[in-house]
C-alpha cells in the first residue's frame, strides 16, 4: 500500500469522548475534497468512533495504527455527497 501523505495534522491526544470527533468534524470542514487529515488520539473509543463518524459523514478512514501510547488515523475528505 502506498504511503499516505496528510494535508493537515490534528492532535487530539489527552482528549476524551466526544471531543475528538467534534474536533475532527470542525477540522474536516476546512479541508477540500480528497484532502487527508492525520489525527493523533489517546481515547481508546476512537478506534470505533472515528470510522463510524467517517462512514456517517461521507468521509473515509484510509488507515489507522497504534504508535506507542497513541492512535493515528488518516481520514480522507469525501466529495460531500452521501
Amino acid at each position: 500500500m502506498a504511503d499516505v501523505n496528510e494535508d493537515t495534522v490534528l492532535d487530539c491526544r489527552g482528549l476524551q469522548c466526544p471531543i475528538p470527533v467534534v474536533r475532527i468534524g470542525r477540522e474536516m470542514s476546512t479541508l477540500g475534497p480528497g484532502e487527508v487529515l492525520k489525527v493523533l488520539a489517546t481515547d481508546r473509543g476512537a478506534v470505533a468512533d472515528v470510522p463510524a463518524w467517517a462512514a456517517d459523514t461521507g468521509n473515509e478512514v484510509l488507515r489507522w495504527h497504534e504508535d506507542g501510547d497513541h492512535l493515528v488515523f488518516y481520514i480522507r475528505k469525501g466529495a460531500g455527497e452521501d
Binding site: 489527552g14 482528549l15 476524551q16 469522548c17 466526544p18 471531543i19 470527533v21 467534534v22 475532527i24 468534524g25 489517546t42 481515547d43 468512533d49 463510524a52 463518524w53 456517517d56 459523514t57 452521501d82
Partner: protein, 189 residues
C-alpha cells in the same frame, strides 16, 4: 447505483420487480431525514447524569445530525445559569460509585461530603481529559444543538425563563413528541 432491468425480453419478471423495489427502498432510506435527527431527554440533574445527554448530543451534531436535548425535572439544573454550583454528585444512595475506601452511608451523608464527592469527580474527570460541563454546553451551542427547557417543570419548580443560559428554548411534551416522531434516535436519560 444504477437501475438495471434486463431488457432482452419485454417481460418484466418477478425478479425484476423485486430488484426495482429493493433499489428504490435503499434510495429512500438513504434520504430518510429521520436518520439525521436525534432527540434526547435529560431528566437528571447530578454531575454524573449531566454528561450522557450532552456527550451524545455533541457526538450527534459532530456526525452531521440535527440534535435536540429536552431538559425536564432535575435536568433543568444542567442549563441553569448557576449550573457550576448547582450540579453536584453524591455517593448517598449510589452503591456503584467508586470510592477511595469503603464508606458507610452514615458517613457519606455527613455535611460536606456531597461537596467533596463533587470536587473529586470533577478533579478526576479533568485529570483524565474529560471535558467540563461548560465545554460540552459550549460545543452543543456552537454546533447548533437545540437546548429546550421543559416549561411545566420551570413553572412547578418556580424558575424564571431568565434563570437559564443563553440560547435555551422553551417547550412542552407536545413539541418534544413532534420532534421525536421524526427522529430515529430518541433517548431518555
Amino acid at each position: 447505483m444504477s437501475l438495471e432491468v434486463r431488457s432482452e425480453s419485454s417481460v418484466v419478471t418477478h425478479e425484476d420487480v423485486r430488484l426495482i423495489v429493493r433499489q428504490e427502498l435503499e434510495r429512500a432510506l438513504k434520504r430518510d431525514p429521520a436518520a439525521q435527527r436525534a432527540c434526547i431527554i435529560a431528566s437528571k440533574g447530578t454531575l454524573d447524569w449531566a454528561y450522557p445527554p450532552l456527550i451524545l448530543a455533541s457526538a450527534a451534531a459532530a456526525a452531521g445530525m440535527d440534535a435536540a436535548v429536552f431538559f425536564t425535572f432535575y435536568g433543568l439544573n444542567i442549563i441553569h445559569k448557576d449550573f457550576r454550583r448547582r450540579v453536584k454528585v453524591s455517593p448517598v444512595g449510589n452503591p456503584a460509585m467508586p470510592m477511595p475506601v469503603p464508606m458507610a452511608d452514615t458517613f457519606t451523608s455527613l455535611p460536606g461530603m456531597k461537596g467533596m464527592a463533587t470536587w473529586m469527580m470533577k478533579d478526576k474527570f479533568r485529570r483524565k481529559g474529560v471535558a467540563a460541563l461548560e465545554e460540552l454546553l459550549e460545543v452543543c451551542r456552537e454546533s447548533s444543538v437545540r437546548l429546550i427547557a421543559c416549561a411545566l417543570t420551570i413553572e412547578v419548580f418556580g424558575f424564571q425563563e431568565s434563570d437559564f443560559i443563553d440560547g435555551v428554548e422553551f417547550g412542552g411534551a407536545g413539541a418534544f413528541m413532534s420532534d421525536a416522531r421524526r427522529s430515529h434516535v430518541t433517548l431518555f436519560v
